[in-house]
Symmetry: C2
Subunit: 555 residues, 2 copies
């Protein structure tokens, strides 16, 4: 593949956020690049693994997101003249000019990226990406790659967890833009929540960028912008089939309100409703007769919002339109949804309005996994959830700790030690497999050295915990899946996977999670999914470890 005029290789579009430039990295990647260059080491071939150490949100699974953006990033990676000038101005003046000439020429044509397909269920310690290439170049990719994967995977996982609690039948809407961590915190949240199993977003920019379905109606401000019914000047509404025009839709709705107040089955449910709210609802119904959904909690849900909604919805029904439903944005959502459902069913029965009992009820207001779970336990009548702050900021755990570790350089395996065993890296360029059992569930992931023979179906293989001597198990896989596929081959000529469209990534995520054994997925005390290394790799890790660690002296 040749770089085109824009510096893009292989015709891959740039990252969604144009701010994701080659300078979107830590300064130390450039100082290291200089030191590598100065020592003549910059072209040494290095292999780095990108992985995380712990699943987020107290769970035992993670959804991998961000691959598409990483590939777009490297396809377009190069340093422009103005960026080079800036670097020259911030690096020590002792840096030699030859280094900047070197930087001017770099791109990612010598880099290869192997990755788990985006949307996959992934687990701690297993590489999500393996990046190979000249050490100085791959080092520059560390920060943007970790940045692009961390939040993407975190928020996709959060969305999947919300979907799991809400259940498959509910509609899930992402409403987080205003509370997200900046503009692309919002835009990325919409993208990755959709991958994680949400149905739609309120974010127009994200809808446009990614083709995600959009949803939204009105806010409290719309309701309180109305003072009285007198504000509605044009009261006409044509019937749905165009056969006639109602000359006073306001009177029609008012008349319905009167009928509701007198209805036997609704006796005592409400008396006077708020008239500015009624005006806002009628006005909104006139604007969107086929898509009438009303926010009913500005004044009082049961005594004002619901009856006002029903009056407008029934007036629409007279003209052949079917109203959509209500949104509850405060109060006791379980109780209010049940009351609303009773109201809608009573109307269906008393006035014979077919399907009115199934009017859609959307709930919003600071929802999260816990509140969804609590609603399920209490019983409720909510059909759709609008979820914002807790979802998009990943409030219960705002960061995933992805790291990018050198595992090999110049064909020499490297290990990073730590007093904390969980922080010791797994050395070597590796192959990664998922082994499936008889019931079709994944049983264990296993890493092997690059040149070991792959695990075979129906052949027993020993899977070892990478660090704990006593933890090991024999597995006879019924199906073996190689996890890392080539997504970027630079100009090596190797074939590479296509980047799938968002809908395919979403399908993969939903499919992968539905095939996990249920005990890994449950919210309370889920069973950890096992991640292992081959016996050969285990031995090598521990040989290298002993080799590198200093021998202590007790004094």
């Amino acid at each position: 593949m040749e770089a085109n005029a824009n510096g893009s290789i292989g015709g891959v579009k740039g990252p969604t956020n144009p701010m994701a430039s080659a300078l979107l990295t830590d300064l130390y990647q450039f100082t290291m690049a200089y030191a590598y260059w100065k020592a003549g080491k910059h072209q040494e071939r290095a292999v780095f693994d990108l992985y995380f150490r712990k699943n987020p949100f107290g769970g035992e699974y993670t959804v991998f997101g961000g691959l598409d953006e990483c590939i777009r990033f490297i396809a377009n990676f190069r340093l422009k003249e103005d960026e080079l000038s800036y670097l020259r101005s911030v690096l020590p003046s002792t840096c030699e000019e030859g280094f900047f000439s070197y930087l001017r020429g770099i791109n990612c044509s010598d880099v290869e990226v192997y990755a788990v397909p985006e949307g996959s269920a992934v687990f701690p310690k297993m590489p999500l990406l393996r990046v190979e290439g000249p050490v100085a170049v791959v080092q520059l990719l560390e920060t943007p790659f970790v940045n692009l994967v961390n939040y993407a995977s975190l928020v996709a996982t959060n969305a999947a967890r919300h979907r799991f609690v809400a259940g498959k039948s509910k509609i899930l809407l992402e409403f987080g833009l205003r509370r997200a961590q900046g503009p692309d915190g919002g835009i990325s949240a919409s993208k990755y929540c959709y991958i994680g199993g949400f149905d739609a977003t309120s974010n127009v920019a994200a809808g446009r960028l990614f083709g995600i379905p959009l949803r939204g109606t009105h806010s409290h401000a719309f309701i309180s912008s109305y003072m009285s019914l007198d504000e509605i000047v044009d009261k006409r509404l044509r019937s749905h089939d165009g056969s006639f025009t109602c000359s006073d839709f306001v009177a029609l709705a008012q008349n319905w309100l009167l009928k509701l107040r007198r209805a036997t089955s609704l006796q005592g449910m409400f008396s006077e409703t708020n008239q500015s709210e009624l005006a806002a609802f009628i006005s909104y119904a006139l604007a969107f007769p086929s898509n009438f959904l009303a926010l009913v909690d500005t004044y009082d849900v049961v005594r004002s919002g619901i009856p006002n909604y029903c009056a407008a919805a029934l007036a629409l029904n007279d003209l052949g339109y079917k109203a959509t439903g209500i949104r509850l944005d405060s109060g006791d959502l379980a109780y209010l949804s049940i009351e609303a459902r009773k109201f809608f069913r009573a109307i269906e029965k008393e006035f014979g309005v077919k399907d009115f009992g199934n009017t859609m009820i959307t709930a919003s207001n600071d929802l999260n996994e816990e509140t969804l779970d609590a609603l399920n336990k209490q019983g409720h009548e909510v059909d759709a959830y609008g979820i914002g702050t807790n979802l998009v900021t990943c409030y219960s755990q705002a960061a995933l700790g992805c790291v990018f570790k050198l595992v090999e350089i110049n064909n020499q395996p490297r290990i990073k030690l730590s007093e904390d065993v969980s922080k010791v890296s797994i050395p070597c360029k590796k192959r990664c497999y998922r082994l499936y059992g008889r019931e079709g569930y994944p049983l264990v992931d296993i890493m092997t050295g690059e040149n070991e023979p792959p695990p075979k179906v129906a052949q027993r293989i020993l899977c070892r915990h990478p660090f704990s001597e006593s933890k090991r198990a024999y597995v006879v896989p019924q199906h073996v899946e190689e996890l890392l596929k080539c997504y970027w081959s630079g100009n090596s000529g190797k074939s590479r996977e296509e980047l799938p469209p968002l809908t395919k990534i979403r399908e993969r995520c939903i499919g992968q999670l539905s095939q996990m054994r249920p005990d890994h997925m449950r919210r309370l005390n889920p069973t950890p999914y096992k991640v292992s290394v081959s016996a050969k790799l285990y031995d090598f890790i521990h040989f290298l470890w002993l080799n590198e660690a200093p021998v202590g002296e007790l004094q």
Copy 2:
């Protein structure tokens, strides 16, 4: 002011993130705009307040950030043809074409924005921005404004809190890019942490965009990329003054390591150090002889990292260079920093190397307010902190709950009620003041109706809690500061404040926080700063409240 060819009014640059377009909003802002337009209400003049209800992080203050981006946003706010086409495709097909013609023509020339200066200390319920203009247009601004202010203010506050605990004398470095919520989560974090009192960032893109000082050296990968001293081919280093060249800097450093091992004051501190680490340090010192800072915890801080650093640093010293220091990225930072300091001081004394005892010690590794506080209590020798994840994701509270509420339309005050008193909005277009006491501290913020006479110096004024009848106090201000200033006047001809450069915003933040009474600032049980309304506004709020709330019926 006229709109120029790009649609910018008054020559204000666009938002930092080009993704902050007019579509970066919730769909319901457009559906409401249509309903307003359809009802002929779209030009009604509305006043919205942007404020938050609770200070973050369990504290009693917030730093206001994001104003500059909001003004850039509205100066460049307009809908392009492709954006209009997209909107047409997602709004119901019943929407009339006239609406899109209307949208095509809108910009923010009819909008006025009054705001507290960016970098100010701000408090719950007080408007940070007051936005006035045609209701349909201002409604479209809600989501982007809240988005641009929420995270900016949250992370600036988080940075200020870290600065408060660390103390004025420490160097604070923001290292969060890789763990931030997406690319501009990282870039915004760098910007607003600098405002909040940080000294530098590792984020090169942010350094370039905002002129923030950059810092960074190398990672563990750099250390582990070296296998042995043989990898260093060019061993020469010219002395700092250029007067001679050392032909074997490796031997010089090795010689120093030997001297250190034999030094009386360092007896038994270490024996064999890791040679690949020594190779990496020497190589880095050769690349950056004037900026040598080494990460010393790859193998073992006390037994390998520190002596290896000192060997390279003392070799540099022989050539007239002054090494910078070390970074600790794991383990017991208090203990390790104290051990490092002892080592450095012993060397200064035994070898007479001036100032070596003051070698800079930087600490990183999952630092947050609590760990800084714990370090202070234990005693430590850290000079600089590198803080990432907890700082930039605002891990302890990942969202600020800014809201945007309609307070007036067509000169009619509006209120939004709620079962939860803290969610009731304060109606009316208001003026806001900060009243200062005799000791120079701010005493209370007060909101008044727009046409009330302003509070006067030395004149007693009654300050009332907006919702609690019994909470009120007389104040005799020694100084009165009007808080909301005009930052955007559209084409009204009113004069407006200049947008200050980042350094001025940073100075304002540091100045404002240093003038707060200390009990509002302390970490444990801080005293709430009082926010009040005038007696007249209090009466009006409660009149309106009774007017709008439905009378309950106990059954």
